[in-house]
């Protein structure tokens, strides 16, 4: 199924200085290009991700996971705590490893996302090698490493890189299984499906797409035996995946997931999506389109178009499988996600990398055939393909806290209340002012609750620094107030607990508050402020 390097159009014949056994280093490097590329790209991947690991401001969602992570680690009864947010437990569970190694919870969930990205890169390479050979695999991995989509969303501790890792592994194994059904691949596929299901709802897409790989099963004789073997292997994979997913049944929260889902409203129900397809398209697609244009860049989108066309013409069934793995997840994201946020795109567009690689190689082959040369077409294609991505990457790595992100992501991740700009500075001031403090130091919050301050103070379980609402009676004992936006008026009565309809108010009179520091988030975004509370 794989294509040798010598068969790829336009690839120079091996040559160069010889080694002791008569073969040139270049020959050896090209023979093992996949390993060489994995090593080089892995190094680049690790270096670029480490460059932003501690520098991106803590975004609300990841701080919530990081808040849960040590609780799940230290309290066996809370292993499934992530279900309260309708998320699977795998991200939290995998974060146990870096936590045990001594990393902070926020760093730990980010490291899991980054490791998932590295795994996905390898799986993208393996999948591409299966489809178009080793050179294409190297190109796909290179694109993966430089693409802004995977740089930005491995800087944050999201679930989506983990979903993508599981889904890309499932795609690779489904392609192998369709070519040659066997128990080993079926078992591994079951593990990949289970990992996706244990991560997030979107992990179900790899299960839904399993029948699509039937397109690749050969119908030559003895097709009945081959088909029966495939069905058996697919059934085994589904049983293993479901068995893994069923681990969630050990938690009482599993039986409340329906109610949790309804109350959170993170997804549009499929029936609603189908009956309001036009309006949901209008609300979500413009945002997603702008995000795709920036995170994938126009040149790679065009490379995808060329690759899809080439594959449709030459390997129609394989093209249909890859298009299904791209279009169906993308459509699900557009119509089912309640908000058009970029990280939802991560699992959806990752299967597009093999197609992009095919498109770029085909463009290179076309240019080299037309020009009769090999070097400058390679340079032109490489520059056009990666420079737009590199330009974005350089800006993001230089200033991760303030770089403008496309569409809604700029508000969500950089400028608005859920973003994390300013919490580091505020936490530092609190730390300096509480050195040597005896007993707990209560912090009250106004506006959006954030777990970032507790995490940055090294107190994720909020024991040393209890974090309470400014509207709660406990706020009267607070030493500090963190405010997102303006402070509410003073309370005229004690608000009932957990009554979100009660007008926001402050149990601390404004006369007791003294501003210590403020941070204005970029582009006129939210102002976060730290106040000291003076004694009554």
């Amino acid at each position: 199924m794989s294509t040798s390097v010598a068969n790829v159009p336009g690839v120079p014949r091996p040559g160069g200085p010889a080694t002791a056994d008569g073969r040139s280093w270049r020959t050896i490097a090209i023979e093992h290009i996949d390993l060489v590329c994995v090593a080089i790209f892995a190094l680049v991947y690790i270096a670029t991700r480490l460059a932003v690991l501690w520098r991106f401001p803590p975004y609300f969602d990841e701080t919530f996971y990081a808040h849960e992570a040590p609780i799940a680690l230290h309290q066996p009864g809370q292993r499934f705590i992530s279900l309260i947010d309708d998320k699977g437990p795998l991200l939290i569970w995998l974060s146990f490893i870096p936590q045990k190694l001594g990393f902070a919870p926020l760093t730990s969930v980010r490291l899991v996302a980054q490791a998932a990205g590295l795994w996905t890169m390898v799986m993208v390479g393996l999948t591409t090698r299966l489809i178009a050979g080793r050179v294409a695999a190297a190109v796909a991995m290179g694109l993966f490493v430089v693409t802004p989509l995977w740089l930005v969303f491995t800087a944050i501790g999201f679930d989506e890189p983990l979903v993508a890792a599981a889904a890309t592994s499932a795609l690779y194994l489904q392609l192998r299984l369709a070519d040659r059904p066997n128990l080993r691949d079926a078992t591994l596929l079951g593990l990949a499906l289970g990992a996706g299901l244990l991560t997030k709802e979107s992990g179900k897409l790899a299960v839904i797409l399993l029948p699509v790989s039937l397109l690749l099963v050969s119908w030559e004789r003895p097709w009945i035996k081959r088909l029966a073997t495939w069905v058996g292997c697919a059934a085994l994979a589904l049983v293993i995946g479901y068995a893994l997913y069923s681990v969630e049944r050990l938690s009482p929260l599993y039986y409340e997931l329906g109610e949790i889902r309804r109350s959170l409203g993170q997804y549009t129900p499929v029936s609603t999506a189908l009956s309001h397809i036009g309006s949901i398209y209008q609300q979500n697609w413009p945002g997603y389109r702008v995000e795709l244009d920036h995170y994938l860049t126009p040149t790679l989108i065009l490379a995808f178009a060329v690759g899809a066309g080439v594959l449709l013409a030459r390997r129609t069934r394989m093209a249909l499988v890859l298009l299904a793995w791209t279009v169906i997840p993308l459509a699900s994201v557009v119509f089912i996600a309640s908000r058009p946020l970029g990280h939802y795109l991560v699992p959806a567009v990752t299967p597009a990398f093999p197609v992009m690689a095919v498109g770029l190689l085909e463009t290179y082959g076309f240019l080299s055939r037309r020009s009769g040369r090999t070097r400058w077409p390679a340079v032109v294609v490489a520059v056009v393909a990666v420079v737009p991505s590199l330009w974005f990457d350089v800006q993001f790595i230089a200033k991760p806290a303030t770089t403008k992100l496309p569409a809604y992501d700029d508000r969500e991740l950089i400028t608005d209340a859920a973003a994390g700009g300013g919490w580091k500075q505020i936490s530092e001031v609190i730390r300096q002012r509480t050195v040597g403090a005896h007993g707990p130091v209560t912090i009250a919050y106004s506006g959006i609750i954030t777990f970032a301050v507790s995490l940055l103070l090294g107190d994720p379980e909020q024991i040393r620094y209890p974090y309470v609402s400014i509207a709660s009676p406990a706020a009267t004992a607070a030493s500090f107030v963190t405010a997102t936006g303006a402070l509410p008026p003073a309370c005229t009565a004690t608000p009932p607990p957990n009554d979100i309809a009660f007008p926001p108010c402050s149990m601390i009179p404004p006369s007791r508050l003294r501003r210590l520091t403020s941070y204005q988030r970029p582009r006129g975004g939210v102002v976060v402020t730290l106040y000291a509370v003076s004694p009554p």
Binding site: S279, P298, L302, V310, Y408
Partner: protein
Amino acid sequence: MRTSWIVAASVVVVAVVMFVGPFERFGVGDLNRIRQAEAVLTAGCVRGERQANASVETLVRYFGRDPDQLLPLVGATPPSSMRDQLTGLEPSLREGACVRYPALGTQVSEALAGR
């Protein structure tokens, strides 16, 4: 030749979908304003009359027109004007506003989408 045609067709389809944005009635900026107004109105509705008054001004600022002019867009005729509902002149109308406005952004976008 067949491959060239398929590649050309694929490029055209992808380019139109990704760079032209077919059937889009308005852009990200408009959607951002709708969502911000939606959030402000939801918050104003929860907070009560005083903030709701501010919400009217915010809505005017976001949409560049009086909220009452949005009524034809959302395709509904409430018992009083939107401004009256927001300022909460009568408790029954305020209750209606609190049910109604959290979904305002969706209603406006649906109306603009031609539903």
